[in-house]
Symmetry: D2
């Protein structure tokens, strides 16, 4: 394969999609997120050999939301280990991300760690394990991204708590099935803090490099998770990372990835790079409208696919 000029490809895509009609809609259920200018648009590719290629608002902070679920799962697998899989599955949900149906049918065991219910169980295990769950979690994310400048946004936390009735329904239902061990308020508090973390595209790309690098942090060669765990997290992202659009994402983009309602999507090309797009408006499935399209075109142009 000839050497690709990532900077040019990214700049071209940024230019092209900046002017595309954006049919997406901003997530409405978190009032604090509605304040973000909808024309924000950043792209960053961070390669394993330590090159960063960015375009647009790629160094501006945004709310990572569900992307934090990958960090939570990684930390839980590191601290709690494989036994977490007794309390959460690895199968795609096949249903919208806030559905209670399957959770009830399957006796309080969430389908996978990337639906809200699954992430709530992961939070519950972290609370049972960590001394200071919130600060330990934040510390872990800072380490992965090699940046001290990463914080929770307490306004977003407050906003989500105020309207988070669906999550409260989920966690109560799981508590009734005894799959939540800690106090409901404590679990929701960690969950909303995790989701409220703000990072830039570049920080996210860098933090996800361990999944492209068999579990090893590139910048200091520290092993965070084993090769096997790293590949399994990628597999879980591939099958469950984009809610009920995971099939379309595998089909059209062909890389493992994770999205958030803040408009971010991170994709991993194993042994090569991570690529993060941020554009706040969402398609009908809750994934960044522009982000999905840019990733599809990027992998088509560069003929990138794990398949």
């Amino acid at each position: 394969m000839k050497k690709l000029d990532y900077q040019k490809i990214i700049d071209d895509l940024h230019l092209k999609y900046k002017n595309v009609v954006n049919k997406g809609k901003i997530a409405s259920y978190i009032p604090e997120l509605k304040k973000i200018p909808t024309d924000k648009f950043g792209i960053n590719l961070y390669s394993l050999n330590n090159h960063s290629f960015g375009s647009g608002d790629f160094q501006e902070k945004f709310s990572i939301q569900s992307i934090s679920k990958v960090f939570a799962l990684t930390l839980a697998l590191k601290k709690v280990g494989e036994k977490i899989w007794k309390r959460v599955g690895v199968e795609p949900s096949g249903d919208p991300f806030n559905s209670l149906v399957q959770l009830e049918f399957e006796k309080g065991i969430p389908r996978n760690p990337f639906i809200n219910a699954g992430a709530l169980v992961v939070c519950d295990t972290l609370i049972s394990t960590l001394k200071s769950p919130k600060s330990d979690f934040l510390h872990f994310v800072r380490k992965l991204s090699d940046s001290k400048d990463i914080y929770f946004n307490e306004k977003v936390v407050a906003s989500e708590k105020k309207y988070g009735f669906i999550n409260a329904a989920h966690v109560n239902l799981m508590k009734s099935f005894k799959n939540i061990k800690n106090d409901i308020e404590v679990v929701l508090d960690l969950y909303y803090h995790m989701c409220s973390i703000e990072m830039t595209c570049e920080e996210l790309s860098k933090a996800f490099l361990i999944f492209a690098n068999d579990g090893i942090l590139p910048y200091n060669k520290e092993r965070i998770i084993s090769l096997s765990v790293s590949k399994r997290i990628n597999a879980t992202m591939q099958l469950c990372g984009l809610y009920d659009e995971a099939g379309q994402f595998a089909f059209k983009v062909g890389l493992p990835g994770k999205s958030g309602v803040g408009g971010g999507i991170v994709a991993i090309n194993p042994d090569l790079y991570c690529l993060t797009i941020w554009s706040p408006k969402l398609n009908k499935k809750g994934n960044s409208y522009i982000g999905f399209k840019v990733l599809e075109e990027f992998t088509t142009i560069t003929q990138s696919s794990i398949f």
Copy 2:
């Protein structure tokens, strides 16, 4: 029809069913209710012409639980009126009484006022309407049964609150659909107080006489609700009063009725009487195992049926 000797029929049934093998099980999810001796067994028939026929523990208090939903609906229809039907349906649920599936599918509108979700909506309307919801409600029940000796059981309230995760899930889900107007904790507090009321078989029979008497209290001739509302509450009991065993109850007993997990069932024979059975062990559908059988045999012997 020849004159029936209700006292003899009731005594015979009490004798017969006292010695029948009771295949039911005590409700396990409310720890406080598990303390009740499982061999308690009372029958009371209260006729419109003011005769009370009782056998066994018919003058002992027990937790009326879901039977209270009929009082709540009656008070709501009296105070709030027909507009309550915009927020709760009158169709049978066709599913177990704690299912979230239908509630989610139907956008937070509970199927009927006798499933938990429906009763929570009724509580919500009472809170929006009454000055002192809890004491007003208690006062209303005392008036219907012509007894001052009726109270909440705060231990049962505490016990239900502690393990009431499913109800919390329901009310949060409905709040997310904006079908709960008041604070979640306040709604649950009224709901659990209502359920915790303790009454005897005789008091329950007497309190339900308005539904056998076209809406008029027999003991003082006061009209509580209109003829039409009275008949509609009976219709709703017939279709939705015994969870997903309503069909069997209509089929085998043939009278409108309402059950509770405390082991009580009240049945109404319009223009004639109310009949209450209390036996704590429940069948698989959550209705009193013995209570259902006694009612079936009573209506067979007396050839009573509205159909």
Copy 3:
């Protein structure tokens, strides 16, 4: 209660509702039924003391469709007996009348004999029992209505067979659960013939009088079914007779009844009369739009209700 002038009430209702805007729609999935003029409108009340009160097109034949399910159940209970209840339930479906969901979830046991799947099981038992199922069935309906002039409509049969994919799905699913014993084509053939029967409002009212008369044919005093079976069929109609509008029907009309997509509804007032309305346009739940309204107003005016 003062003596009611049924003829005047019916005439008044006919006059009033003839000119009401009919928001209903003709059933579109049976092409042959779309040919019926949508302004057809008949009312008939047939009393136990042998008076017939009719207005409009009450002596014109129409396709009885699902109303035939009551005849099928009655004949099956007469010939096969109570063991039929092992293969079909008596609970309301709580779902639209052509849903496969519940049938799959409940292992091929239909909720009740008045949803299509349940009627198909009833047909299956008739085929296993009767010598000449189709002609025996027709003979039975003729006997109940005391009329020889009742026939299948083979054009309607052909039309339903051609587009009956949902029923074929149901019967195949039940066959996979071994709840259909006979050949699928034979079962569907009897089912479609049953549905295609054409009767007048007057004939239907008369044929349903056994359910108002404790199981005895009024015109010749012959007992067709026991008192108990008669009351149980009424109970089943009350809970399951109007698809997922049964609750509204109990609530607003207050009598057991059965509807069909041909636009007919029959209601039973035990010990008094049967009342049949025919008006082809259907409401969103698949019941006659005008028929439901006329019945509601009739029972309000006459203060009729079993509750």
Copy 4:
């Protein structure tokens, strides 16, 4: 990575798993398949550079069953093109492979081409497109595997037709939603013939090499499908190829694959090889019990994973 001795690895795995307790069960719903000796066990790895490594019964024919769905999809994409995706999705089903629930909920559009309903739609498109669907299909499979010795098994076809009520339910339901264009019997006939094809592990590995080789047949360099289509079929296999165990397969095996109830599983390692296991007993999810375990251990030993 050091050169792997595939023959030794495969022989070792065959030896080890030949003696493992097989907790699986033979598929019971196709009587003809129950005749297969349950201790059959073959492994074959066929590499892109034309080496075949086999152990055990790898050159014995078995019923490929659902593995044929990949051939059908490939032929349909070749002949019908992308417009097939309007009639079938690419999302995982999240439910058992014979569920009608989702199909009804989603208006007759099957979740993906590898559940039965989806494959039936694919068959329907082939019938609309091909001159001689059955022989054209067989010819296509023979070409992919470079073998003339491949046939339908008419006994298996007859056996499946006799008990295929669930498939008949599916196809009727889709016909009711107008997502089946051809005659139901013709669609089922092609479907059952496809499933009845018998091939060896070696033939299957060889036939799947196009998916490891970007759409090109290795043995004659003929392009069968485009690079993009090849990768998309792999993605679809990864997300939907093992019924509702796709997540576990991605997680533990880490390669795209497809299984069948005949006990075969094929896995694809892009740019390297295809690996087929055959062992008839199935785990609870309907996939070969031993096949899944061998694949998991093989990819662990060889550190193979696309992720």
